[in-house]
């Protein structure tokens, strides 16, 4: 576990350096293309300033912004005791220094993500649909996957990577647009200006870089985020000792046709399963942020011998038919066997459709802080948080009920 964190930290660092170099090159060449004398330095400075500001924002309120954009609401234990218990179980198993904050997204689409600055300031968000669909062991699998993202420092990596990517895209866009309009307006003047061949070459490099850098950065970002999904699956199994829990959960998630409306292209890589429905595009293409979910399920179900990282690696090789290492070699050092425990994944939660829809709606009302009053006569009253009266007369039996203020 620990070695894995170290390997991940190193990788994050290299990615950070790589993207920074890409950004500085971009700044230098665009600057030089605009002004051949001092533009290069100015370009670098401007790129650094933009990067600094965006990083500050993401460091101090990145997770808050992400949670707000996803329409996630922080909840108390009263709203869903089981979710709280499962998160605490995983906090104990993974030895996190602090309990992650818990958020629920009011959407029937089953999905989940983790975010935060570090393991001390982290948050886990799950949708109401996920909670109404999964049984306890399956929910534990999903929460373990998210806890692994926190433990493996993926949350910080993802935030930084997306900010870097955003900066590179922003600068390239601005430059390309600027080029386009200036060539429309004053093309003749710039072509007649002095500078000769050297300047022309710099201009071509700048344009090529502006087109290629965002593509390159995107591929880098997606490739690593895909790998981290496998890693989080492997870590989740090591935490829960129960691959079928996560496998069964992923199966249910894959089977749902509900769409998560609050997810965007930027937040998509955060989720446990890609929330954006693919439109005919092949799932395993370079552009996809997640490994194909059916492959992940297959790998988990192939783990017959144990719950160790080496067992996951073995299952991965069996399913993919390749020996490509997915777990860093340093993570494969612990040789003690870890047995898989028994569980109840796949069982339970088979209620009639109407009942489960009602449960889902009640949960969403609960998240919206509705107060539930159960009258002795059997009538349920669901009172919104802004209700003005002090008491409610049960229309069925006439009993008086006090409302919570």
């Amino acid at each position: 576990m620990w070695e894995l964190i170290q390997a991940n930290k190193r990788k994050s660092f290299f990615l950070f350096i790589g993207m920074t170099i890409l950004l500085l090159l971009l700044g230098y060449f665009i600057g030089s293309a605009v002004n051949p004398y001092s533009g290069g330095i100015t370009g670098i400075v401007i790129a650094l300033i933009i990067l600094f500001i965006l990083n500050m924002i993401s460091h101090f309120s990145g997770s808050k912004i992400l949670l707000a954009v996803s329409n996630a609401k922080e909840v108390t234990k009263k709203v869903h005791p089981q979710l709280f218990n499962v998160v605490e179980e995983m906090r104990i198993a993974s030895n996190l220094p602090a309990m992650p904050k818990i958020y629920i997204i009011n959407s029937p689409a089953p999905n989940a993500f983790a975010t935060g600055r570090n393991p001390k300031n982290s948050a886990i968000a799950v949708t109401a649909g996920l909670l109404s669909m999964l049984n306890r062991d399956e929910l534990q699998g999903v929460v373990a996957h998210e806890t692994s993202h926190i433990l493996n420092r993926d949350i910080r990596f993802m935030t930084y990577a997306s900010i870097m990517l955003g900066t590179i895209v922003l600068i390239s866009e601005v430059f390309l647009r600027g080029m386009f309009y200036s060539s429309l307006a004053g093309g003749r003047r710039s072509s007649s200006s002095r500078g000769g061949q050297g300047q022309l070459i710099i201009m071509i490099i700048a344009i090529a870089l502006s087109i290629l850098a965002p593509l390159f950065a995107t591929l880098l970002y997606f490739a690593i985020s895909r790998k981290r999904e496998y890693l989080a699956d492997a870590s989740a199994v090591r935490l829960t000792r129960y691959p079928e829990g996560l496998a069964s959960a992923l199966e249910k998630i894959a089977g749902s046709h509900e769409e998560l409306k609050t997810a965007t292209k930027v937040t998509a890589p955060l989720y446990i399963n890609n929330p954006l429905k693919r439109k005919g595009r092949k799932a395993s293409s370079l552009q996809s942020t997640h490994p194909p979910i059916h492959e992940r399920i297959k790998i988990l179900r192939n783990m017959a011998h144990g719950a160790n990282f080496s067992d996951y690696q073995e299952a991965f090789s069996n399913v993919k038919g390749s020996v490509k290492p997915i777990i860093p070699a340093s993570g494969l050092t612990d040789h003690e066997d870890i047995q898989i425990r028994k569980g109840e994944a796949g069982k339970g939660k088979i209620k009639n459709a109407r009942q489960s829809k009602r449960n889902l709606e009640d949960l969403m009302l609960n998240v919206d802080r509705y107060d539930f009053i159960n009258c002795v006569c059997g009538l349920k009253m669901k009172v919104p948080p802004g209700y003005s009266g002090n008491e409610i007369l049960c229309p069925r039996c006439g009993r008086k009920h006090k409302t919570i203020k």
């Binding site: 709606e361 009302l365 009538l379 349920k380 009266g389 007369l393 229309p395 069925r396 039996c397 006439g398």
Partner: protein
């Protein structure tokens, strides 16, 4: 407005004025008989000038239309959202409508409504 639930049926209800709000489509669910459903849904008639106070839709907060329902017998005047968010029934209006719409004695919905508002209809009397 609060939500009432009995036997897995939910109804939006105002404890102050005893009115009931039905989202679009919910009235259709309440009426079991197909021909009766069609007849009733086609009997909507907008009223331009009435003395009744105009209400605002609880969903979009826009002023609602006054609509006459079931003009063959005693018509019932209810409020309908201009953007079709739903229907507003004053105290007892929904009950009256369902009661006289040939729904019959063993109509489940009517029985449920009777049950749900047992105390209210029992003590405060019908009419209104």
């Amino acid at each position: 407005m609060i939500i009432l639930e009995l036997h897995q049926v939910e109804i939006d209800y105002c404890p102050d004025c005893k009115g009931i709000w039905l989202d679009t489509g919910e009235l259709e669910l309440l009426i079991e008989d197909e021909t009766e459903k069609k007849r009733l849904l086609n009997s909507f008639k907008k009223q331009e000038h009435t003395k009744e106070k105009l209400y605002r839709c609880p969903v979009c907060n826009k002023k609602m239309d006054k609509v006459l329902l079931d003009d063959e017998g005693d018509p019932v005047m209810i409020d309908k959202c201009k953007k079709s968010h739903g229907l507003w029934f004053d105290k007892n209006e929904l009950y009256l409508l369902l009661d006289k719409s040939n729904a019959g004695k063993d109509n489940k919905v009517l029985n449920l409504l009777n049950d749900m508002f047992n105390y209210e209809t029992g003590t405060k009397g019908e009419g209104a």
